[in-house]
Symmetry: C2
């Protein structure tokens, strides 16, 4: 009986922690599966999985065409190792989830197919290599699948789902856009085709229909903006109207339409996903509740003791006082048990980051109270606390900026650098002296951490550089560059002094996690296109250093490029000769400008495909991300502070803590335990939307079953409250 | 007494028509002021005002530096005439509105100051001209003020207000962006400044701080994207990271942030404006109600007879049956009077475009029934109605597209053009033969109108061209160009055949009015910048035709431009030598690409200012326009059809109409009067938001007074329902 109870507890804890992290893994309910589930989600296992995913992706750096060449044997052994790890993780996952769920999940199938494909390709390539037959390592483009399909990359997967759902809508707009492009091209052919005009390079202008289509497509991206117009414009000013009309219709209206479609679908889809998550969480919390419930009067409840055991299991790191606080919030009438309504909120309560900051006297004050409380020390501390201290350092930063700009190898200024470093170090020491060190380096003190890291990194690098210089009479370029960058970064601090700037900066810092998802998305697209690009264009263009006397050094080693804009612009290093430079070329193509010059003739289709995928879809998704994140931030700025009820509870808690600590009570405000809710955690689009949606679900509504949730149609984004059919 | 009653009626009608068109003019309540008010809003007066505003703006085309030079005397006489008209219109307006309102309104003061300034400047310039002293016509930049500040341009003014309200927020973001730019520039100076690198043109690379700042500002607009990176990238691949970081932070994040700020403020501000409008409209309708009300039992009402007189006054063009319909909707229980609640909706009811389409037999059917009902005719008509007819013509259009692309002066193909023209004309004739002509050319039959106009314009132009050719053996280039354009435009029709495309096209057509506002905004900004640009850069660059042998023809007449990118790109025609080419240069700058090449050295500040105003603010507003319009369209697509209650009323109305017409009743569905609500009119952002907001105002709430409404703070965009303090 006791064992069964503890098993229930274990299972319930698994449910709660699953809900807490929105993991969304349906797992078997046997005790050993639950233990495996814990292991699966252990941070070491997750980190290892990510490590091998990125190792596998970065293999492209070492395989031919390589940035850092390694023998084929080494890379293939590493790849096999990665694939083994992926297979192991997948097997682990299979042990955790019920069999039918596992086999119905596309992402698991995807991973298996990808592993098989990779192994097959590796084997074929290896065998052919022995017989000296070159073949294509085509399986390399499936590698990003591992990044997308492992259970951890929920966000990236969601973004891809969002793209997939946007595709039909965007295809229609795209077709219409292409139609408009073709019409304009036809018009251009009729208007300019027989004028015998020449471009600035003396080439025929607008003669061939397909070339016109391409030129006008490039004009949509504005990359050849006035050039493509100039010959016609020189011929007659009225022809400018054609191009103006074209730009208005295609660049402004259609491109905005793309953004509108992507943004609209992104929001619609996000809502649906969040709804699924909220239902899933509710469902899991109810499962946990049902495992632990006992009868109490007319209702089922969870008793305090069990609840505490549960919390201890789910979040073993929380302090006693934190647990007390959570209990007080859940059982606000102190009845000794927690009802269903409060219980289902546990996952969210656990997610609220509570900073347990103990306002106690400075360690120095305890260690040598006489010195710390002396008049000089007191004066020093009040000085540091004064507004003028910040202003003084703002002025110092500005002077420093001027010195950095001047820095001209004169010894006087290089000494000044030491002075500034010393001043900054003194500032940090003074602040640590004045404020409590643990508060100063608290989790949410972004700027303090930033300052300290930058200053000490700069100190280390400067010392290192000086040592190198005095011993070997030689400046290490890398170290010097880092020193320069660190010096300039130091100046960013000044932004923190102005309230309004700080607010914008905080918004930007808050949306960093969202942007990382976008980074993952970009990585996947870049990887695929880089690998294809390397297969197609590898070696077509060579880069020679400026003083090279190789043949055709100025034409990038390719006689066909003689006199081309490509060679004239010295773009030789923009090539697909290895993974790293492919990435840089793709980055340039994302930025769009001059892309028609960067590309080679046969590559047009490749570049148009990249443009459609990256610029039209992904960059618009990124803009949607930022718009949405900013709007959420903006709406949060206006929301009133949290309801007083919760606040008063917190106050209670504070006094309770004082009692618990058995403090002498001489100086309660300066010594004691204060909880501060770091609401930052909620400041992401996801979390906010989720909370908003949860508020809409009535408590009695347990939501659809797991199966139903997974199959919720995205076409019904507004929930039709299935209360009647699913209320338990 | 009767006169007083008719005066009340007149005044009430003025209130209603003001509410109907959202004119927002507070007018005096004396009978003669009301008559003046009607005159002021007469369409001839309004059109005349617009005509003189645009005449005044277009003077820039004829004044030095002129596209079409006219003597100074002519332009100054025209300008004085325009100013007189503006003054007259303002005086008219002053007679209509109460004096204190008139003098408190900034836009009236603006117009007066602008008139004074223009006259003063004109006088000074004229006098100086007599003494042959050249001076600057600085007052020309105040001309757009007339476009903005006349009461008619509510939308443009609102957009400007929106910009003004966005400024503080955007300034902060801009300062932060500039700070980031300065930091990156400092970093670039430290990293690359002492490397002695050279650009592709052999110039020193990243040596001077200010030049770096400018180069990186240009990089933010992506205009010099790979070029600015190449020297550093060639030196070391790692330096690409600096530029990638720069682009991510500044181009992607900050530019999206600008869009987010502009969009957010645009929405916030729009809501507030709409709220004001809705309150104003409600207030006016209540004023009108109070003028006409009579006691009926416990409540005040407006009797049917008076109501009809009112509607006749407000909308003299509505048919009897339309008025009956409105009455039935307002007095749905047929009590013989209209209560307050129904009365205040009158303005909106009048705005609903009701198409009175009489389903009656074809005129030919009445004229020569035997022929029209014959078997051949019936077969013809069923053929035209068949889906295959549309498909056949789609195929014909496609074939035509191929013929247009081929058109190579071969006689065979030029005959084909006549065949296609004939086919299209036959199509239109067949359609008119089959469908009722008045239904075919109905107000909302956009595509039918489009088709017919294009075809007949093409027919006229082709005949004209052939005549010219056969008589003078000379193709008129202009006419030929128009023929070409019309031929291609014909092909657009194919879009209409695909349901989903039609939906997108309709969205686009619906947002055209919104885009016109943006056009006005752009016009104002372009005018100001063009006039400043002409003063600053006039004559600096000359354009010579290709075969010119003038000195420095290749350097645009400016020896300083020798070997510059500007001359190499043959950009000579991009100059500020007259109003028209200034507009084209500004258009190119709006598109952004190559703007750093187009500009001359001293013009950097001018161009940066233009970039900030046009690209960062106005283009973002335009994108916001389109996003919002598209979202509204999208949300409308999903809204259910209008409530059945109203629908059934309409059904009643239909049958009532049958009775009224005294029809024989043989074929009610094919003969009779059917009302169709053209809901398109509501499909603008404004109208939708207004309706949504009106639904939120409770009927008892008469809203704040006129004065209060005008001073509603934009900082309180969500109405706090001032019911308690202002309920009458």
């Amino acid at each position: 009986m006791a064992e069964a109870a503890s098993q229930d507890l274990l299972l319930a804890a698994a449910f709660v922690s699953d809900a807490q992290y929105n993991r969304n893994i349906p797992f078997k309910t046997s005790p050993e599966a639950v233990r495996l589930y814990y292991l699966y989600n252990h941070w070491i296992m997750r980190t290892a999985a990510y490590f091998f995913i990125f190792l596998n992706l970065s293999l492209a750096l070492f395989e031919e065409p390589a940035v850092y060449p390694l023998p084929f044997l080494v890379t293939s052994v590493v790849e096999v190792l990665c694939l083994l790890v992926f297979f192991g993780r997948l097997t682990h996952f299979a042990k955790v989830t019920p069999r039918n769920v596992f086999w119905k999940d596309t992402k698991n199938i995807c991973i298996m197919v990808a592993i098989l494909l990779s192994l097959t390709d590796l084997a074929i390539y290896g065998v052919l290599r022995i017989y000296n037959v070159r073949s294509i390592r085509w399986s390399r483009i499936v590698r990003p699948i591992f990044l997308v399909n492992f259970a951890e990359s929920r966000q990236i997967r969601r973004a891809f789902r969002s793209i997939r759902n946007t595709l039909p809508e965007i295809t229609y707009v795209f077709l219409l856009f292409m139609f408009s492009l073709l019409m304009f091209s036809l018009m251009a052919l009729k208007l300019f085709g027989e004028r015998n005009l020449l471009t600035a390079e003396g080439l025929p202008y607008f003669r061939n229909y397909l070339e016109i289509v391409f030129d006008l497509y490039v004009l949509v991206t504005t990359a050849n903006s006035p050039d493509v117009m100039m010959p016609a414009f020189d011929f007659s000013s009225w022809y400018a109207l054609f191009f103006i009309g074209f730009v208005i219709v295609n660049t402004y209206i259609f491109m905005s339409l793309f953004l509108a479609v992507v943004y609209n679908n992104y929001r619609k889809h996000l809502k649906n996903e969040i709804r699924k998550l909220a239902y899933m969480k509710r469902r899991k919390m109810i499962e946990a509740f049902n495992l632990l419930k006992e009868e109490e009067g007319a209702q089922f409840v969870v008793r305090e003791a069990r609840w505490k055991q549960l919390v201890k299991l789910v979040a073993p790191d929380t302090s006693n006082s934190h647990r007390e606080l959570l209990l007080r919030i859940s059982d606000d009438e102190q009845k000794g048990f927690i009802d269903k309504k409060s219980f289902v909120q546990l996952a969210d309560l656990l997610n609220i980051q509570v900073i347990t900051l103990k306002i106690r006297s400075h360690p120095l004050g305890q260690w040598m109270p006489r010195v710390y409380q002396s008049a000089v020390s007191q004066f020093l501390r009040s000085m540091v606390r004064h507004r003028g201290f910040v202003w003084t350092y703002d002025v110092i930063i500005l002077i420093n900026a001027i010195f950095i700009a001047l820095d001209e190898e004169t010894p006087y200024i290089s000494y000044a650098e030491w002075v500034f470093l010393a001043l900054y170090i003194i500032e940090i020491l003074l602040k640590v002296y004045t404020y409590e060190p643990r508060a100063f380096f608290g989790k949410n003190q972004f700027w303090n951490w930033f300052d300290t890291l930058i200053i000490f990194a700069a100190l280390t690098a400067t010392i290192l550089n000086t040592t190198l210089k005095s011993t070997t009479k030689y400046n290490s370029q890398q170290i010097l560059d880092i020193v320069f960058i660190l010096r300039v970064l130091r100046l960013i601090r000044i932004v923190d002094s102005i309230q309004r700037f700080r607010a914008i900066m905080n918004t930007l810092i808050n949306i960093v996690p969202t942007m990382l998802t976008f980074g993952g998305l970009t990585l996947v697209v870049y990887c695929v296109f880089a690998i294809i690009g390397m297969e197609l264009f590898h070696g077509k263009i060579q880069f020679f250093p400026a003083n090279s006397n190789a043949p055709h050094a100025l034409e990038c080693g390719n006689p066909a490029l003689k006199d081309s804009l490509f060679a004239r612009g010295k773009y030789c290093k923009n090539n697909f000769n290895n993974f790293a430079s492919s990435f840089i070329v793709l980055m340039e193509l994302t930025v769009v400008n001059q892309w028609h010059d960067i590309l080679l003739q046969p590559a047009k289709l490749y570049f148009i495909a990249f443009h459609i995928v990256m610029v039209i879809i992904i960059v618009n998704i990124f803009v949607s991300f930022i718009l949405e994140a900013f709007f959420v931030e903006y709406s949060l700025e206006k929301t009133p502070p949290p309801p007083p009820q919760e606040g008063s509870l917190l106050d209670n808690m504070e006094s309770t803590e004082h009692d618990l600590e058995g403090d002498s009570g001489a100086k309660p405000p300066s010594k004691g335990l204060v909880f501060k809710i770091a609401s930052k955690r909620y400041r992401t689009v996801d979390a906010l939307l989720q909370r908003m949606f949860e508020a809409e679900i009535p408590l009695e509504d347990e939501g659809p079953s797991f199966e139903e949730i997974l199959n919720l149609a995205p076409t019904a984004p507004v929930p039709s409250h299935p209360t009647s059919e699913s209320a338990a």
